[in-house]
């Protein structure tokens, strides 16, 4: 059984319908540790040693955050800067995260179409996430495609429910080890991989 660490960063969680829907029942799921960064470190004073211990205790890491200005909220960047130390996470002797799995779980205001070369935002989500992808590679981790929820402003209660159960399905697959990373990497989003899994099962 794999253990999942969700590094959740949202400065206004209480106002975010989507994030609350996604994380609603997460705490009860066996094998998932929800680590609410803005709740733990309101002063941005990250306890690096504690974070390292958490990372070591889990096999799968999720950067779960909304997309702010095409990147993560500031505290998650702070977390990356401070915790992923040279000599620990990367560099010659920095092998502690080797072969761990990591990916972004995103909530995004714009539609998927807006994030295309012809769209409003010109670049794709994968392009905006290059710095995350390369950070993971630098730390010798396996980077998976993101799980994304688009168009968050227009989602109905029903949509939210569907996304939440989709996210839970994903986490269940990961916990049970019921996946193949090479297969996952072929997809643009993990959502697509999940859809394929659904089709195969039915």
């Amino acid at each position: 059984m794999n253990k999942i660490l969700i590094l959740f960063a949202h400065p206004r969680f209480e106002k975010s319908k989507t994030s609350r829907a996604l994380l609603k029942n997460i705490k009860q799921v066996d094998g998932v540790t929800l680590h609410d960064l803005y709740e733990e470190y309101p002063d941005f004073n990250i306890d690096v040693e504690r974070e390292k211990e958490l990372l070591l205790a889990h096999q799968i890491i999720v950067w779960h955050h909304p997309l702010y200005m095409y990147s993560a909220p500031a505290l998650l960047k702070q977390w990356m800067d401070m915790v992923l130390e040279h000599g620990w996470a990367h560099g010659n002797r920095g092998n502690n995260l080797e072969d761990k799995i990591i990916f972004n779980a995103l909530t995004i205001g714009g539609t998927k179409e807006a994030y295309t070369p012809g769209g409003h935002n010109k670049y794709t989500i994968r392009e905006f996430l290059f710095s995350f992808e390369q950070t993971a590679t630098l730390c010798k981790m396996i980077y998976l495609p993101p799980f994304a929820v688009h168009g968050t402003h227009r989602l109905t209660a029903n949509d939210l429910k569907n996304y939440a159960s989709l996210y839970q399905t994903l986490l269940a697959h990961l916990i049970q080890g019921n996946f193949n990373t090479e297969d996952m990497k072929k997809h643009f989003y993990l959502n697509d991989w999940l859809a394929e899994q659904g089709r195969n099962n039915s």
Partner: protein
């Protein structure tokens, strides 16, 4: 050590240990406990202490002597100067009017003018011991009434010196009564000479303080033996007192002067903490002795006269005090505390009456009557204050509960109770209110309560440790209680009450110092907020910035220091119990400081900041390039 001494000590200490907790439990305060204990063991009831009551009185007066030394110590000239208007204004008004009125009344009932005047002066004294102790226990020392009371008492204490100097001039005959057994140097001198001797003695104490005590204490301090310093402090007090007795003056006055002189020396705080425990015990003894020395035989023989005397004196004093309070613009509640608090005749009256009778100004019979009235008035004071707090003020003064009585509806919207709305609590309250959280406030300063109610706060007036008030304030429905009372002792007892009676309440506590924080940790409190932590660190951070540190680095250093210090607090708290069970607080304070300073070297916050440190990177990259 004789058996009878041990026997007496046994009786007195047992009385204190039995009666004070009972009185405290019944909400009466320690002074009343001592007094009632004294009455009960006195010759009239159980008779454990008999006719030797007067000797005990002399011994116990030493508690008053020490208290005056401490009051003197607290009297920095700067403080005095700041309060000069209050002290002189209220003091002159109170003493002058009381003396005049009593003088007139006593003259009417047939006293000679000398006797009437000297008695008037004596009864204008109030009891510093009772009033200060009571105000401190009730946490009222810093309110308007507390300040005014302190001012009046101070004026009285100081004016004892000139009064003692004046009395010999009033002596009726040149021949003095030496039968009292007080063989003093002043015995056979004429009045004017006694006055001169007295002034000379006062000056001698001041000079000795400046040119002898301070160098002497410096010498002792250099030896670095704590107990020797305590011994030296006691020696100074006893020597001064003894000298005064030899000269034939009040020892309390001598030590008061010595205290004032030493207030300006660097030993002030050290002396205070050394003598405090002795003072407490002896003062308790004094109160017991007052209770025991009430001459019930005299009262039984002349019940009506004594009753009139007590009632009349206290009424005159109270009327004058009330007017004085009105003139210095005390609100009704504050004025009632001030008036009733100071309405008794104080311990200095004993000293003055003894001197008056020695000078043959007043007959022995009347002296006994006056002394009896004094003792009774002192016993009645705590009762009066209690009645004022429980019966009078709730009815006529600031209400304990604000007028609007939609209790349930309001309470539901007040999840937070703030006990104590001084400078600390008020900031919390304002912050919560700015964020839409309305807290219920408990405070015992009626002036503040009035203002807050006008501003629309929901305020309960009274002692926050009282169960009924906590219930009224909605402690049963609230979620969080913030203990922000100024006095650490009251805060701690509040916390104890809450833990026992309202276990569901989350408690957040203000701690004045590291030591208070330890006590609270011992009491099982988790959320402790030290006044001396965050603000000090913030100032330190700004200092680093002013010295040229980058702001973010300085702020991070501050954050880490607070984290480190809180961890050190709980670590040291456990360690503390392994040490000796009883250490004097100041020494403990210093030892902790030492330990902290030693450990702080380990708290290098930049240790954690590898991430932003480019040095390891620079080495690596340059190495790579060389490799290529």
């Amino acid at each position: 050590m004789s058996a009878s001494f041990l026997h007496d000590a046994l009786i007195y200490l047992a009385t204190a240990v039995i009666f004070v907790p009972i009185a405290k439990r019944m909400g009466m305060g320690s002074v009343l406990g001592y007094l009632i204990g004294g009455i009960i063991i006195g010759p009239f009831f159980l008779g454990f202490v008999g006719e030797e009551g007067k000797d005990i009185m002399h011994f116990a007066e030493f508690g008053v002597v020490m208290m005056l030394f401490l009051i003197g110590l607290e009297l920095e000239p700067a403080t005095f100067w700041r309060m000069r208007k209050l002290i002189l204004g209220t003091g002159i008004m109170q003493m002058g009017a009381t003396t005049l009125l009593c003088f007139a009344v006593l003259l009417l009932i047939g006293f000679t003018w000398q006797a009437a005047l000297s008695c008037g002066l004596a009864v204008s004294m109030s009891s510093t011991a009772i009033v200060m102790q009571t105000l401190r226990e009730k946490g009222l020392a810093k309110t308007q009434s507390g300040r005014s009371s302190f001012a009046v008492l101070l004026f009285q204490d100081i004016s004892v010196i000139p009064i003692l100097a004046l009395l010999p001039l009033l002596a009726v005959s040149g021949v003095h009564n030496t039968s009292s057994g007080h063989a003093s140097l002043m015995g056979g001198l004429p009045g004017w000479a006694q006055t001169l001797v007295l002034l000379a003695a006062a000056n001698a104490v001041v000079l000795a303080g400046r040119f002898f005590f301070v160098p002497f204490l410096r010498f002792i301090a250099r030896i670095r033996l704590r107990e020797l310093f305590t011994a030296a402090a006691l020696l100074i007090i006893i020597a001064t007192a003894d000298l005064m007795i030899i000269v034939g003056l009040s020892p309390a006055l001598g030590t008061f002067l010595a205290g004032v002189v030493l207030a300006n020396s660097e030993f002030r705080h050290e002396l205070e903490s050394d003598i405090e425990p002795f003072k407490g015990v002896l003062l308790g003894l004094f109160f017991i002795a007052v209770g025991a020395s009430i001459n019930f035989k005299l009262i039984v023989a002349n019940p009506i006269t004594v009753a009139f005397l007590v009632f009349g004196l206290m009424a005159i004093k109270a009327i004058v005090l009330f007017i004085t309070g009105k003139l210095s613009r005390l609100s009704f509640d504050q004025n009632m505390i001030f008036t009733l608090g100071l309405s008794q005749v104080g311990e200095f009256a004993f000293v003055l009456f003894a001197f008056i009778s020695q000078l043959n100004i007043l007959s022995a019979h009347w002296t006994d009557m006056m002394m009896g009235a004094t003792a009774i008035s002192m016993t009645v004071t705590p009762l009066l204050l209690l009645a004022n707090e429980r019966v009078l003020l709730p009815r006529f003064g600031t209400k304990e509960i604000a007028e609007d009585k939609e209790t349930d509806a309001i309470d539901a919207r007040h999840p937070v109770i703030i006990a104590g709305f001084g400078h600390f609590g008020s900031t919390i309250g304002r912050f919560l209110r700015a964020n839409g959280v309305n807290a219920v406030i408990l405070d015992n300063d009626s002036d503040r309560v009035d203002i807050l109610r006008k501003m629309g706060f929901k305020v309960f007036y009274g002692d926050a440790t009282r169960l009924d008030i906590l219930k009224c304030a909605g402690a049963e429905e609230a979620r969080i209680l913030i203990a922000a009372i100024d006095s650490p002792e009251i805060n701690l007892s509040l916390v104890d009450t809450i833990k026992k009676e309202f276990p569901h309440l989350k408690i957040m506590v203000r701690a004045k110092s590291r030591l208070d924080a330890y006590e609270l940790l011992d009491a099982g409190i988790e959320n402790i907020y030290r006044e001396s932590l965050d603000t000090s660190v913030r100032l330190g951070v700004d200092t680093l910035i002013a010295l040229g540190f980058r702001k973010y680095s300085a702020v991070r250093a501050g954050q880490n220091f607070i984290k480190y210090d809180e961890a050190a607090l709980s670590k040291l708290a456990k360690h503390r119990h392994e040490q000796e069970a009883y250490i004097f607080t100041t020494r403990e304070q210093i030892e902790i400081q030492e330990q902290l300073l030693a450990n702080d070297r380990e708290a290098n916050p930049t240790l954690y900041d590898h991430a932003w440190d480019s040095e390891p990177y620079a080495e690596k990259t340059s190495g790579d390039e060389r490799g290529k």
